[in-house]
Amino acid sequence: MTDLTRRSFLKAAGIGGMTLAAGWTAAARSSEKAHVVVVGGGSGGATAAKYVKRFAPEMQVTLIEPKATYHTCYGSNWVLGGHATMDDIEQTYGALKERHGVNVVQDTVTEVDPERRTVTTAGGATMNYDRLIMSPGIDFRYGAVPGITEADAERVPHAWKAGEQTVLLRRQLEAMPDGGVFVIVAPGNPFRCPPGPYERASMAAHYFKQAKPRSKILILDNKENFSKQGLFMAGWDEHYGDMIEWLPSSEGGQVEEIDVATLTAYSDGGFGEFKADVLNYIPPQQAGVIAQRSGLTGDGLWCPVDGKTFESTIHAGIYVIGDSCVAGAMPKSGHSANNQGKVAAVAVIRDLAGLEPETASTANTCYSLITPDHAISVAGVYAYQDGDIVSVEGAGGVSPAHAPAPIRRMEAIYTKGWYTGIVGDIWG
């Protein structure tokens, strides 16, 4: 299968034309020994590592990731809803190593030196790279709201990085009495997975409807509208009556302080006071800490990149993909990160071969479950235009309003299909 797969990709890359430009061979020769280092084995990084090997099998690719197993955030809301397990969303690195020849190192990168082109790890290793691809995801800005710090994440889970946090929040929901209030505090834009908080509310409602039907879900939002809003709200009406309430920032949804001891969120200078039985605070976010520490965020919170190649506009030779980067019209999603990984793979290979950069072409799809049998989606196709990544006009958009139940059910089937497909594409 490996050989077939490689063969397929070589064909995809357009092998067959046999004309070689003079001078080209030398560039390619030197790149044969090239070492590509990838930081982060999540949606973006694992894809990039695998696709560099697929497009250019002779390159040496090292993937550095601290975790031996990765839990996808996608599907983690299904775990909260009680119809998937942590095992269902667990991914490992065996196929990347054995099937694709990626050198997977279990470690954390602590320092990047863009001048000397080295990375240093917590384990004490220093590694040279010819090109570096970084996909470290997000980190949280706990300082944004007084009263809560990262140390409180046990009592007030974010569950915005899947794993122990997901298990913790699920346990709290299970322990909540019937008639309790589950409060979700949703961040302002931009943040990881724009439809995520609303899918989470839906999945909690699905669970409560069966197990504790007198309970309520309150979303306190730091913005005025949200992804797929019309479709979510219609779905909530249809399936959950008035169980879910959403408060935009202008109506008291903008949380200004949290009292962890009493699980109370305050807004409007204390005028709004919301006592929770289970509190899920999703803090505002920024690029992964290592991206900041490497200077890749400049003066901002996210990493600016060239929309054509995803190369950092701050440090040459470093490509930043996934949630950490500023990718124009593309949302911060696993599907986006996966597509960006392929673009970065092509860009790195071409750059090492001394070839002109190719213009990125990417797509995104985000499915959200409202019930296990009712899903909605948003899609986009993206192109590079005038220095930016833009949505291709006329394409993309959300599922139709007022679609009949069989269509929603079909999308729910494809939601599961999307999951299986994309984790295969990333870690398979």
């Binding site: 064909k11 497009f55 290979i349 990417t362 999308e411």
Partner: protein, 103 residues
């Protein structure tokens, strides 16, 4: 070290040394590679998941299906929204590629 040898399925059987093949892949890895590998996010090359399998998909059928998704004559849940993001030339790139790969 001996370089492994791969056979390229396309355009008649060729046998090339890995280093050379790889170098050519490098030279040509471009828009075609990005467009076709983008499909694999949902339509896994290993045919896992329940999305239609594109591996070995008949060329002309692929082109006509993409056209029909795009103009709405083939109903779909999401492919209409996606197909409209690509050009006729892109459909041909996809079709040429998927038709020649094997499971």
């Amino acid at each position: 070290m001996m370089k492994p040898v791969f056979r390229i399925a396309a355009g008649g059987a060729m046998v090339l040394a890995c280093g050379l093949v790889g170098s050519q892949a490098m030279a040509d890895a471009g828009r075609e590679a990005m467009i076709t590998s983008s499909c694999f996010s949902c339509h896994s090359i290993d045919a896992t998941g329940n999305m239609p399998n594109l591996v070995g998909y008949p060329r002309d059928l692929m082109i006509s299906q993409m056209q029909m998704f795009s103009n709405g004559s083939r109903p779909s849940t999401i492919m209409d929204r996606i197909a409209r993001g690509y050009s006729e030339a892109d459909y041909v790139v996809m079709a040429d590629y998927f038709a020649t790969i094997e499971q």
